[in-house]
Symmetry: D2
Subunit: 101 residues, 4 copies
């Protein structure tokens, strides 16, 4: 089962700046052989369910190891059985409707 997942990790107890922790998660995702797509409110990851969710777990472990005592994470994720669709397909599908007259 393929999944497109949007990950937003918020470490608590480490002050207001969280970019160091987000950067560490980008590395975790890349090291797992997946391609993170960073945006202002999260990172999109796609691939096999087990592989993607294992990366989410690893991100939590790494952020705790970096010193964050508490993590509050929001995830949006989608699966579909009717057809294959990539994260890029989703964006293109909307953009195509925007250029149509």
């Amino acid at each position: 089962m393929n999944v497109i997942l949007d990950l937003c990790i918020v470490p608590l107890g480490v002050g207001v700046s969280v970019s160091l922790y987000i950067a560490a998660c980008q590395r975790v995702i890349t090291q797992a052989g997946l391609t993170p797509r960073l945006h202002a409110y999260g990172t999109t990851i796609e691939g096999d369910w087990d592989k993607v969710l294992a990366v989410v777990k690893r991100c939590h472990e790494v952020v705790h190891e970096m010193g964050a005592p508490r993590i509050s994470t929001t995830i949006k994720l989608g699966t579909r059985t009717d057809r294959e669709q990539t994260a890029e397909d989703k964006v293109r599908s909307v953009e195509a409707k925007l250029t149509d007259v």
Copy 2:
């Protein structure tokens, strides 16, 4: 690693009523030996990370098997290393502050 997770599964392509699918997920959670706490915008589950996340995957599989071609899910989840905390602890902690004068 223990996790408190809030699960909100939205099946697409099956009309506007989704309660049948949510009820099926409640059964999936219970059958896994976990205790779902249903609220108006999701279900709270807590326990070992791998066990809880396996249940989320199983919910997606079951909702697809029931005929939903697409699922859009929102998850909030928290882990902490500073102390143990249950979902009930979280609610009580807020309620205690409300009764304080």
Copy 3:
């Protein structure tokens, strides 16, 4: 337009304990004449869109006034035009499917 909204406010830069801020938001909601339904991962509020969203804004203002320099909030919200539905209706609708044989 009526809305059912699930509010999860996470103040950053104030340490790991956030219940004091959540409790303050409960009071903001109550003072606005709305009924908060607290659960482990948020608070459900329902009512007229403008009234409910004004309360969300007031919560941000109050939590900042209490000293939180940064707030990260997750909201789930639903509107429907096909029929009226309360937060309690949503829960009951799932529970009814669970007791059906």
Copy 4:
């Protein structure tokens, strides 16, 4: 009060393809004088709280007018009082940490 908001609108009861509705929301945002940043799991909008939240309401109205009887929306939003920060600043801040040796 400035806000950075991530909007993910999911219309229900209109089948599995939702890009037409998302495209309509992009136009609503642009017509309000704001700049949508579309990604695979939502759209980032930033600006004055009242202006941004008015756009979210207008999106719901438009998607209902297009025929969707029910909408399930997920929003992430952030405010801060310690300093000004744009959506682009957030992305750059993470990227800077990734290029540091």
